[in-house]
Symmetry: C2
């Protein structure tokens, strides 16, 4: 604490991301990275872009990447925003669409960063409790005060909402913004992108960190009505004219162009997720039905923290959230086949030898 | 304007950066980029870093780069912050150290972004007029309301303040933060870095965009007491855990390590700046005494806008600010020797043929 800090900075509890160890000691199943590398075409494009042009600022409008994304999703360039990771875009959106003192609605169990953004910008929030099966109670969002943010699929549960239910929320809140955080949408959920041309109040935020293996380069996109996109752009242009660097811009374009590779690794992860889910259920785990690149699991007999520690001792990092309702769960990112085989074998060995399970 | 926008976004006037044309048609002397490429070692390091690790998030603490910068400046790692360009760090600092309703002091003629940051975060500002020679009236900063930001050298004038005068400001404002924006310090000014261990209220912000030729990669640093650095980090961790990507982190480290190349190109720019300044004075120009990688010039007989247009017609971009007191000046970035020779010849030809100058 310093006397020079602003009041809000004295009070705020910043977001704490999953551990990012700098050695290669661990199998990282804790931050939902993609276990497969980016497309070879992306790597090649980056090498080509490592040239003298780096002395020049990037295009502040990200025009070329916006065109690529617009074509990909059959939207207009003016309906696309590009940012330095989807977290940054989320933060900008809170500033763009909410006033201090407004109230934003989001589920009680969701991405923890939402409440940090709200606090930073003095926006109030109301946490709507998930039901006992961790589903989002859609009707509770029919009369939102000043706006809504929902992760779809939700994190850390992985549970998806059908697009017609999202549409119901939009219809009921024509004068409020509805932000859908689709960071994990590529792993089996249906995107709400088709609602953009029908509803001026939906803003969709996606990430290239997960399904396109580019967490290390920081690229996120927002999609929505051009007025919403202009609102976020105004925030960006009041903070940093050039948020996305030359290398990231080029890499992102290539990532969108290599559809074959995208589908290949995405499908591998989906298959692996469904397989490990089945196998863990065979060990007695409760495994929520995930459409993301992670699963959310709990065991009836061994506490999540005990499993967390056992995994860590075996060089596997997973994510534990010390929060009401989910403090007996672990969130486990889907790794490669062999990562998950090893993960499974560690759990299996432990459970078969766990004191509480011995007959 | 959209009904979904927040009040502040409806009102704000975002910063407008210099034109960034995407073709190579122009000689760009408008955004203070370095005319020389980044070090070959930087380029090589980027190529090596284009690998499968890009699937992983970067180190959110930027630990290794912080160590490199700390060693370089003989500071501690805890005294260093790393961000996605110095603009982002400036924005974070406004949030970290000022409350809505506070008043920050800065010169009337300076980097236009300061007033945008203040407006965005509902901070008031007071513009202290430069004197008639565009010098900063130091005493007027001796009783600042809630804090101070000064660019040193100042932009767009290029005029530098001596470190002992900065120290006077610090002494007079022990309970207020004093931010020194040293984006252009490497071109001949003396940095205030040595004051950091003496004063807990100085925050210095630098950029790798100018003197290290990395505008395209977006890297800025802040240096100051560890409590100030922690304040900015709290903002960053409430907006985006990973602001600086893997490639930028590696490139920045290499840039700091190649001191020889840094000095070589920096010195070339200084020599070129001083030479073109002399030559322009020979053409009758008023050229302010610059310690930056740009010059600020005005001609007694031909209006700046007319010169601006003439240069543009000859494929040279420079910067014109349509603002009181400086609306008859041009800011001209220092290019390569041949850029500046061409720039000079265009002006010379024009002035010799300008109707107002013909006898």
């Amino acid at each position: 604490m310093s006397k020079y800090w602003s009041n809000i900075i004295k009070k705020i509890e910043p977001y704490v991301p999953g551990e990012q160890p700098q050695d290669k000691h661990f199998i990282k199943l804790n931050t939902n990275e993609n276990p497969y590398p980016p497309s070879e075409k992306v790597i090649r494009a980056i090498k080509n872009a490592a040239n003298e042009d780096l002395r020049l600022y990037p295009d502040p409008t990200c025009n070329s990447l916006k065109k690529t994304v617009a074509d990909y999703y059959n939207l207009k360039k003016e309906q696309i925003f590009v940012g330095n990771g989807s977290d940054e875009i989320l933060a900008f959106s809170f500033l763009a669409f909410f006033n201090p003192g407004d109230t934003i609605f989001f589920p009680d169990i969701t991405y923890d960063f939402y409440q940090v953004y709200a606090s930073l910008f003095r926006i109030n929030y109301r946490k709507i409790p998930l039901d006992n099966n961790f589903n989002i109670p859609i009707e509770k969002f029919y009369e939102a005060n000043d706006g809504i943010i929902i992760a779809n699929p939700n994190s850390p549960t992985g549970i998806v909402i059908q697009v017609d239910l999202i549409e119901n929320i939009l219809k009921k809140n024509p004068n409020k913004i509805v932000i859908i955080d689709e960071a994990y949408i590529d792993f089996g959920g249906e995107s709400s992108i088709n609602l953009i041309n029908k509803y001026p109040n939906i803003l969709i935020i996606q990430s290239l960190s997960k399904s396109r293996s580019l967490a290390g380069l920081r690229i996120g996109i927002a999609l929505g009505d051009k007025d919403l996109i202009e609102g976020i752009s105004r925030v960006k242009n009041s903070i940093n004219s050039y948020t996305v660097d030359r290398i990231a811009l080029i890499a992102a374009e290539e990532a969108f162009k290599d559809q074959k590779y995208f589908e290949k690794i995405r499908n591998k992860i989906i298959i692996e997720r469904d397989m490990i889910s089945r196998k863990l259920r065979g060990l007695g785990f409760k495994v929520l039905d995930s459409k993301a690149n992670f699963i959310f699991i709990s065991h009836p007999e061994v506490h999540a923290l005990q499993l967390f520690n056992e995994l860590r001792e075996n060089n596997i990092l997973v994510r534990y959230f010390n929060q009401p309702r989910i403090d007996n769960f672990l969130r486990v990112s889907i790794g490669t086949d062999s990562d998950m085989e090893y993960f499974y074998s560690v759990l299996k060995d432990f459970l078969y030898n766990a004191p509480s399970m011995q007959k």
